[in-house]
Subunit: 185 residues, 4 copies
């Protein structure tokens, strides 16, 4: 009667693959060989492909969690009383949250042309709202687009990843960015 007879195993494996992928992608970005991920997950390469049709798909799935949380947060702040505060709070959350996310950097690459544009659509939309409200409220310089903003964030991720564990670096980098984004007086 229980209607998940052996799915349990598959789900376990799927999650192991996903976990391995998240870890690997977070640490090294898209360049991790898929076989490596399979090995870390303790499964054959074929198993990875059973769950994810493509390396790209695996990557998107590995990112999805993070992006969804971030997006949800952005949406919440969309209706905040103080658009300026909301905007900067969001950025702080995004940029300073977890560890160094090489994968997020790769995810945001999209613009250039090829990769996981899919994933970030909603996030981009929410961020656009956040940004324009903050601009209308006079809290953020008006000459900046969402694209610009994403590029800047991307840059911070990439650079911060490369810079490794330098203490306080992300915070200071973030401070420069936010100050640069405020309406110049």
């Amino acid at each position: 009667m229980t209607d998940r007879p052996l799915r349990a195993d598959a789900r376990r494996n799927r999650e192991r693959v996903l976990a391995a992928a998240q870890e690997a992608f977070a640490a090294e970005g898209l360049s991790v060989p898929l076989d490596e991920i399979a090995r870390r997950a303790g499964v054959g390469a074929g198993t990875v492909y059973r769950h994810f049709p493509t390396k790209e798909a695996l990557f998107e799935a590995a990112i999805l969690d993070q992006v969804e949380k971030i997006t949800a947060h952005a949406r919440d702040l969309t209706t905040a009383d103080d658009p300026g505060t909301a905007f900067f709070e969001f950025l702080e959350q995004l940029v300073l949250q977890g560890g160094v996310k090489r994968d997020l950097a790769d995810a945001l690459r999209a613009n250039g042309g090829d990769y996981p544009r899919t994933v970030s659509r909603d996030l981009e939309a929410a961020l656009a709202t956040l940004l324009s409200r903050a601009q209308q409220a006079g809290a953020v310089r008006p000459d900046i687009s969402v694209g610009d903003l994403l590029t800047i964030i991307k840059g911070i991720f990439l650079a911060a990843h490369d810079a490794g564990a330098t203490p306080g670096l992300r915070e200071r980098t973030f401070a420069v960015m936010t100050d640069g984004l405020r309406t110049s007086r």
Copy 2:
């Protein structure tokens, strides 16, 4: 038997390789195949390896020139009358100069490994002077280190390259950065 000026030949080859490498790396970053560089230089792959033990070594060498010029420029500005102006002028030169320098981005990377940390020593020193003078003059926020600054520049390069030919993006990004670097009023 013939006693030709071999050294001259060798030097010429080295320079052709270097030039080809610079061009190729600037356009596409580290990912250019070495064979491609050899072909563009009109030499065999073996010749590249005679002069540079490794693709990495070639890359560092290809960057060196640029970095040296930039460094020289930084040193010149070190004694300028207006430290604030000098500082920002330098940044503008660095960030907005030629096309998208994918190689510089790649060059400023790599601390996880071991890469061009070597290369940029002198540049870093000159930039340190430029920065601290500008800070002492009250033109630049005091909570920023040279490392922070390099990270930020790196980020702009990487992100801008990925963003491709988006018009005005580098300029706006640059504006955010500079405004963020100024002493907050």
Copy 3:
């Protein structure tokens, strides 16, 4: 515990697999992945293997039906009044019947290996009768054996499949074959 008519279920499954295999093989030949057949049949790959030890075995089984029908037809015509007409009518039926039978082509292949030589024994026998009667009646050239004939039919199938949907091609090819088979005058 439940004592369901398992055999019936199994038989149903076997037939669904077979039907799916026939359809798939007819359309694309041996190259269809077994998983695809399982999916079309609505069963798991394991089930396919329970009924057929090997992809090859499944293929032979999938062909068997058709071959048996063809064989039956051949046997019927064996006693026809006009052996010449019977022979050519049979060929027409065989070659021009349904769509392009990629599977029949693949079936008639494979002697290099070991394949359906098995399958076609009876067909070959019936066809032999048909042929020799037609030859004795003076309607078909006498220098041709059943093996030759099968090879020629095989060739038409293979070539026609590769040629795709070229209109009229099978008909013209067939015409050449039949004219070539008639007693030369």
Copy 4:
């Protein structure tokens, strides 16, 4: 002064690869793994790719020799006095020449849609001339196109390959084909 210093080696290898490819393709058609060819040639896979950019290219090259000879022969016969004899002589040469050519069969596949259409262009042209002259001379049935003819030849190759070494089979098959092609009286 001799201006082929080490080309000798390369040429030798290229030829070994080509020879291995010809043998392998002739025996098994396009399906032979490229690595297998490399192994038979005693070289690494990379070496094969140095000489031929693609498996397809290697295949075309392996066929080229044969096709060129055949084409040359066809062209010669284009101006023969007796178009009918010329046509059938050509077919005989083509179909009965060497051993079983699985590769030629694959080469003629083109129609279906994807493969080495390139190679056979000239052959097709020459054959077209041969055919239409023979048709105008009343030696060959008028309802047949070059495409039909190529399909038929293709079929004979494929079928003959599958039929293996059956003695006289190709000859009899060929006889049926030629008789079927003659103007019916």
